[in-house]
Symmetry: C2
């Protein structure tokens, strides 16, 4: 019998290095898959359909909402973003753990629909690193940067509702923490009850 | 600031290979210490004071009970067995995780006093392996073996109350599971809250 995979939700403020850590976990563990989101926004340079996003039009997206085909969805700067249910659940049934990279509201929606979801929040050990990375990596106005930092602060306030906090000061250590969490969650007594049930008193 | 270590309680039926798995975890992770129990029974051949047990007399043991120096204790075939608090707590404060090898009643006593304790139950994937190991390793009477198997069944019935079940079909895999559990427990949001508290809104 194949053990079901785990549903792993990963959030974290912009600048926390989420995607690097997720990529390392997936490279090391072939039993981990990534949930590709759907969006109505146009592909950016270098983005690949089916790898970075499923690029769909508004009519298609709204049909998915109507048919309850999304685990969560939100609008952001006029575009839809959402998580298709079917491919994720197929992977989980086949024994693969699936990582969902979603922001804090999306994470809350998923946890509500799937209480067994494991919620991981990624941050550096020191908040000032977020500030530094946000300032370092773009040429935005001071106002825009300030708004991003404010958003990051608001997201931190939600992190206590997560199951785990992974510290990303070094991507390898952070990836090891995330892999350990996935392994440990598969050892949960509630998940492994079947090994006990066969021993009847 | 040193992060506190975790209090790890490990139980499992006789024949589950607990001590081998614990020894491997400790070999791999210098931040894991073992809680040495106290007992009034006489040392067996090869047993070393302070490594296998603290061998004490009844008067000393009863004094420890009276002074609430034990995390848990029980009598077994006329002898006392118990877990001294102080060395374990000193290790935990110093950042070492401490493994307590105790049976199911002792585990319940520890969980009651220390709700933050992490309870791990070790079993092979198939109960018949327990039977095989219990039959294979001793020259006891059929009656004694049957009693041991009955005890193992009773212990299985308690395993659902544990946080995790580690499957020991192969000691390396089992040790990796146990190490992952310790790492994951250190990532719990409740344990890492301090990283959030410094970011005030």
């Amino acid at each position: 019998m194949t053990e079901k995979g785990k549903l792993i939700v990963v959030s974290g403020p912009s600048g926390a290095g989420k995607s690097t850590v997720i990529a390392r976990v997936m490279k090391d563990d072939p039993d981990v898959a990534f949930s590709v989101s759907a969006t109505t926004r146009a592909p950016r340079k270098g983005e690949v359909e089916g790898r970075d996003y499923h690029f769909v039009d508004r009519a298609f997206f709204e049909k998915m909402i109507e048919n309850a085909e999304l685990l969560e969805h939100a609008q952001y700067v006029g575009d839809y973003y959402g998580t298709p249910k079917l491919p994720a659940f197929e992977n989980i049934e086949a024994g693969k753990s699936v990582i969902f990279d979603v922001e804090v509201q999306g994470a809350a929606q998923i946890k509500l629909k799937c209480p067994e979801a494991v919620l991981i929040f990624i941050i550096p050990s020191d908040f000032s690193q977020i500030e530094k990375r946000l300032r370092g990596r773009n040429t935005d106005s001071e106002e825009k940067i300030a708004r991003r930092i404010e958003t990051a602060r608001r997201e931190y306030a939600m992190a206590e509702k997560y199951d785990y906090i992974v510290i990303n000061d070094d991507p390898d250590t952070a990836a090891n923490e995330m892999k350990a969490i996935i392994t440990a969650e598969k050892c949960r007594a509630s998940y492994r009850k079947k090994y006990l049930n066969e021993v009847s008193l």
